[in-house]
């Protein structure tokens, strides 16, 4: 029953879970620090040296806050909302290849929890059901602003999913597989997909901003119009779950972008340095996380640079710019594949 493989998988799942939570936790700190630096401030620097204990202080604060459930809300769904948001945020990390194989005591273990043969579509499915946490929470709050935030979230996500899916289709056409493991392996060295699909990457990253509800597409929770958006009525750790889910989503989106377009765990000259396969794997994990951190930084960089879109601008961008562009990208990819195969 307890084969080494099973034990390794359990350890892997637990460590991914913990790493995800820790990174999400420190993303909140990074967000505040980066925002501060970009605005010529210092940011949180009181809790611990350079303020590195700030996320813990925030967590304690969240737990100690009074828990309010509105009297006229739908209580079951009100509690279900943040749980769903958190669950769907954590689900994607299952299929991301965090590294190639590692050799322990003579047997190979893959640093990927499971390799579905429909990998990319799984990512897509999880993002598409991610909207339910927001919608259910927003509706159950029984508050106009929450409801508007939820409706905005749903229509925004559906609209941008189309362009995202079309961008992924072009990528699948050029890689010829749906499995994230094979996509990663095919990009070994410096054959990253970004050089094959630059336009697709641009569409994908814009859509992932919209899918994670990050600025400039943070319409569902835009403070100036909707108070707090879908989480207006939430308090204490339920609010914390929503905010946390956003950061987990950002981490996962960065991981997916790195895997799909930036070579995943591959790095240039990985096979020319004469390293053992375990060393390459460990270096690959380091490189993957470096890429992920860069994209998390990129998400924050954009957030503190670009103002929020207006809602009609958001819809116009999604439907009249990104979707035609994505279809054009598919045609272009098809034409290139056709031309090179002949």
């Amino acid at each position: 029953m307890f084969t080494p493989d099973l034990i390794f998988k359990v350890v892997l799942i637990l460590s991914i879970f913990v790493i995800t939570l820790v990174i999400a936790m420190y993303s909140t700190y990074g967000e505040r620090k980066i925002a501060a630096f970009m605005q010529d401030r210092l940011g949180p620097n009181r809790a611990g040296i350079f303020g590195i204990l700030q996320p813990l202080a925030d967590g304690v604060k969240m737990f100690m806050k009074e828990e309010l459930i509105p009297d006229i809300s739908n209580k079951v769904l009100f509690i279900l909302g943040p749980c769903l948001a958190m669950t769907t945020a954590l689900m994607t990390s299952v299929i991301i290849p965090w590294g190639s194989t590692i050799n322990i005591f003579g047997s190979d273990f893959s640093l990927q929890v499971t390799d579905l043969n429909i990998g990319v579509l799984y990512v897509f499915a999880v993002t598409s059901i991610g909207v339910y946490g927001i919608m259910i929470g927003g509706w159950a709050s029984n508050n106009k602003y929450s409801l508007l935030g939820a409706l905005r979230a749903s229509s925004q996500m559906i609209s941008y999913e189309i362009a995202m899916g079309l961008a992924i289709i072009a990528l699948i056409m050029s890689t010829g597989t749906l499995s994230l493991k094979e996509i990663s392996a095919a990009q070994s060295g410096f054959h990253w997909n970004i050089f094959v699909q630059p336009l697709g990457f641009l569409i994908f990253i814009i859509c992932s901003f919209a899918e994670t509800n990050r600025a400039p597409f943070d319409l569902p929770e835009c403070e100036t119009e909707l108070i707090g958006g879908y989480h207006t009525e939430y308090s204490s750790m339920k609010l914390g779950f929503y905010l946390f889910a956003e950061y987990i989503n950002m981490f996962i989106a960065s991981a997916v972008i790195s895997t799909l377009y930036f070579g995943g765990y591959n790095f240039p000259f990985m096979n020319d340095m004469g390293l053992s396969s375990n060393a390459i794997t460990i270096l690959g994990v380091v490189f993957l996380f470096a890429k992920i951190f860069f994209f998390i930084f990129f998400f924050m960089w954009i957030r503190w640079t670009i103002p929020r879109f207006r809602y009609d601008q958001l819809m116009r961008l999604g439907w009249t710019v990104l979707i035609p562009l994505a279809i054009f990208n598919i045609l272009l990819t098809g034409a290139i594949i056709f031309a090179t195969n002949n």
Binding site: I34, F37, M38, Q39, D40, R41, L42, N45, W301, I302, W304, T305, I306
Partner: protein
């Protein structure tokens, strides 16, 4: 109308070029600016450890000075209260008893002297009006509080203690002293 300066700029809704419509150059320009600011010098002053330097003539919380022997200089003449544009100062005068010569410099003294720090505008007119060199504004900040009536400062907070005299030499420069000696000026009389 004819413009008197050459600063006038005609703004209009100009049709954007194709490159401008892409918005990407503008976005990258903005990102370059924010990235530059990430490494620029920060303007924050970490307050308790690091204090902003006060101006030489900063006007903060008042002090009622004592003379060289440690007696209070204030004689409760009321000129500061009259001079105060915000009506923040009130006082009750009393006569000095025998044996209190080391406490009060002159025969009359202020038994109660109150400044309402919420009313005070820190203009420094009381300091100018004072003929006895008693009241001065210092570079101390009035601390915050939760209650409004905590801001009515009595003598307990205003009079300097013997152990820990407040330095007002910055306020009492040679020019100021010269100015105060000139009794021809109305408010020095």
């Amino acid at each position: 109308m004819q413009s008197l300066t050459n600063r006038k700029k005609v703004v209009g809704k100009k049709e954007m070029t194709w490159v401008e419509k892409l918005y990407l150059p503008a976005i990258f320009g903005g990102m370059r600016i924010t990235l530059k600011h990430m490494f620029s010098k920060k303007t924050t002053i970490s307050y308790p450890e690091q204090k902003r330097e006060f101006s030489q003539i900063y006007r903060g919380m008042h002090v009622l000075k004592r003379d060289e022997k440690g007696a209070e200089r204030c004689t409760a003449c009321g000129l500061c209260a009259v001079a105060c544009p915000a009506e923040a100062i009130t006082m009750v005068a009393a006569e000095r008893k025998k044996g209190e010569e080391n406490l009060y410099r002159e025969e009359k003294y202020a038994a109660v002297y109150e400044i309402n720090m919420l009313r005070c505008i820190f203009c420094g007119d009381c300091e100018d009006a004072c003929p006895k060199e008693s009241i001065f504004l210092t570079d101390r900040i009035v601390p915050s509080d939760f209650e409004r009536n905590e801001f009515v400062y009595g003598k307990d907070k205003l009079v300097e203690t013997l152990e820990n005299p407040i330095d007002i030499s910055k306020r009492q420069t040679a020019e100021v002293l010269e100015f105060k000696k000139n009794k021809k000026l109305t408010h020095n009389r």
